[in-house]
């Protein structure tokens, strides 16, 4: 899974890389959100950050994405800069309401002034089952469809590192399960760091689950469920994982 030792950075740059987060601190005014948080995110697998709402999960993701500054370092394990190799999938779909689904998928190339590859954009929409909706504006799509467009846009960016901020929290339970399956399938092989407040979501699609608790937030526990994702959640081992995660979350109280 990880980058084999001795591989040159040039060769590994396209292969995917992990993340080394060291001593990250973030404060808004007098309130410290994160203090000295360190975490390793292995290459090519999905790592889940689990924690209650308001603990600073999104802040951590924004820090990793370089959207906010602060003490500490965020480094790719291949030593190359992160800029241009990160895709973000946020809490909302983040779709621009004035663009149709296809143009939303092509947003990245438009912003960078590159030629927009419409055929590839259409192919991405087809992969998330929305080939027909290419010309539709977001307002005419359901919440689940909009999240699928957002997923297609993320895939279109084709970045080895994908950051996800509770990407499926705004849709109904059944749609969420389908989207989790779709995301796990589409993002296989990439390095994914996802934050969520839902233990079941974490158990379903992540290779490693890290629990964030406390104020300021710290890593209290890491769990590696093992096996293939997306995982079934009606098994004894899944229930056992759930119990462990709930215990870890409860320790903060």
């Amino acid at each position: 899974m990880g980058v084999p030792p001795g591989t040159s950075p040039e060769a590994s740059a396209d292969e995917g890389f992990g993340l080394a987060l060291r001593d990250l601190s973030v404060a808004y005014g007098a309130r410290t959100i994160l203090r000295d948080l360190s975490l390793d995110v292995p290459a090519g697998s999905t790592t889940c950050l689990l924690g209650p709402s308001g603990i600073g999960k999104s802040t951590l993701l924004r820090r990793v994405a370089g959207l906010i500054d602060g003490p500490g370092t965020v480094q790719a394990t291949d030593g190359q800069p992160l800029a241009g190799r990160v895709a973000l999938m946020g809490q909302g779909d983040g779709l621009l309401p004035w663009l149709n689904a296809l143009d939303n998928v092509l947003l990245g190339s438009r912003l960078r002034g590159e030629r927009a590859d419409r055929d590839r954009g259409l192919a991405m929409l087809a992969r998330v089952g929305l080939a027909e909706a290419a010309e539709s504006r977001p307002a005419t799509l359901s919440g689940g469809m909009r999240q699928r467009v957002a997923l297609a846009r993320t895939l279109m960016e084709d970045c080895p590192l994908v950051l996800m901020d509770e990407p499926f929290s705004a849709v109904d339970a059944l749609t969420r399960l389908r989207l989790q399956d779709l995301a796990a399938e589409m993002l296989a092989g990439r390095t994914v760091l996802m934050v969520t407040h839902d233990p079941w979501e974490a158990i379903r699609i992540s290779h490693a689950i890290t629990v964030m608790t406390g104020d300021p937030a710290t890593i209290s526990r890491t769990l590696e469920p093992g096996g293939q994702t997306p995982r079934a959640i009606d098994t004894d081992s899944a229930r056992d994982h759930w119990r462990q995660l709930m215990e870890a979350l409860g320790e903060m109280a």
């Binding site: 994405a65 983040g94 947003l107 960078r112």
Partner: protein
């Protein structure tokens, strides 16, 4: 259709009340002419009125175009450049705090009795609503969209990145706010033009109204006023329809 009927019926009732009052009270026609007299004047002197309307319409439309262009440019500069913000924001407020009525004689002095002093008046009155509305829109871009676009454009040099975010995210997202500003501007632009004409001019509906008033031709004054009001309403409705068509993604509903 029923809305149109209601409007027509309301108009006729109001006109009827007006005519009734004029007949019953026997008020002098140079104080208050009845609607029938006004309509007669409107028909008899339509060439004169339309010629002056042409001048005023030209002032209003030119004022709207120039004022909108300047307002949009000012909002973008104030938003993008910190120095422009420090200087521009106070200037913007001052430009509105000084009443245009007080500036009108100066503008006529500087720009002459012709078209441009009135266009300048309209521009002054339009500039503020357009700039503030658009600036508000630019500032209120949804953070989620900006985060996403920032990450997507992370490899661009800083200036190009700012321009890209502005062109592809902030400006389109602010267009509905700009449209609100434009609606206000369209509503008040005729005030600027007409005030300019009152202060000093030789053409335009404002000039015609003042001229008619001085000669006790109150029926002509009312006829000119009616044409000005009708033109303003039609202009506003056209701009509103145009904006609605230009921004189809914008949710649009009234209370039921």
């Amino acid at each position: 259709m029923s809305r149109l009927l209601t409007a027509v019926a309301t108009t006729f009732v109001l006109l009827g009340l007006w005519q009734g009052y004029v007949q019953v009270s026997g008020i002098e026609p140079f104080l208050l002419p009845g609607p029938i007299a006004v309509i007669e004047t409107l028909i008899a002197r339509h060439e004169l009125i339309l010629r002056h309307l042409g001048t005023t319409a030209q002032e209003i439309v030119l004022g709207l175009l120039i004022g909108t262009t300047l307002g949009v440019a000012a909002a973008i500069l104030i938003h993008a450049i910190p120095a422009a913000r420090r200087i521009g924001l106070p200037l913007l407020v001052i430009s509105q705090a000084v009443p245009v009525f007080a500036l009108a004689p100066l503008l006529v002095l500087w720009l002459g009795y012709g078209l441009w002093s009135k266009v300048a008046m309209a521009v002054l009155i339009i500039f503020f609503p357009v700039t503030t509305a658009f600036l508000d829109g630019l500032r209120r871009t949804e953070p989620g969209m900006l985060d996403l676009a920032s990450i997507m454009s992370a490899t661009l040099p800083p200036f190009r990145r700012t321009v890209a975010l502005m062109l592809h995210v902030r400006i389109p997202a602010a267009l509905p706010a700009l449209a609100s500003g434009l609606r206000v501007a369209t509503g008040v632009a005729p005030i600027g033009a007409v005030v300019g004409e009152w202060v000093g001019s030789s053409a335009g509906l404002g000039y015609l109204m003042l001229h008619a008033n001085g000669r006790m031709q109150i029926d002509l004054l009312f006829a000119a006023l009616f044409v000005l009001a009708l033109f303003s309403v039609l202009l506003w409705l056209s701009v509103d329809a145009l904006l609605r068509r230009a921004l189809p993604w914008q949710p649009d509903s009234f209370a039921r």
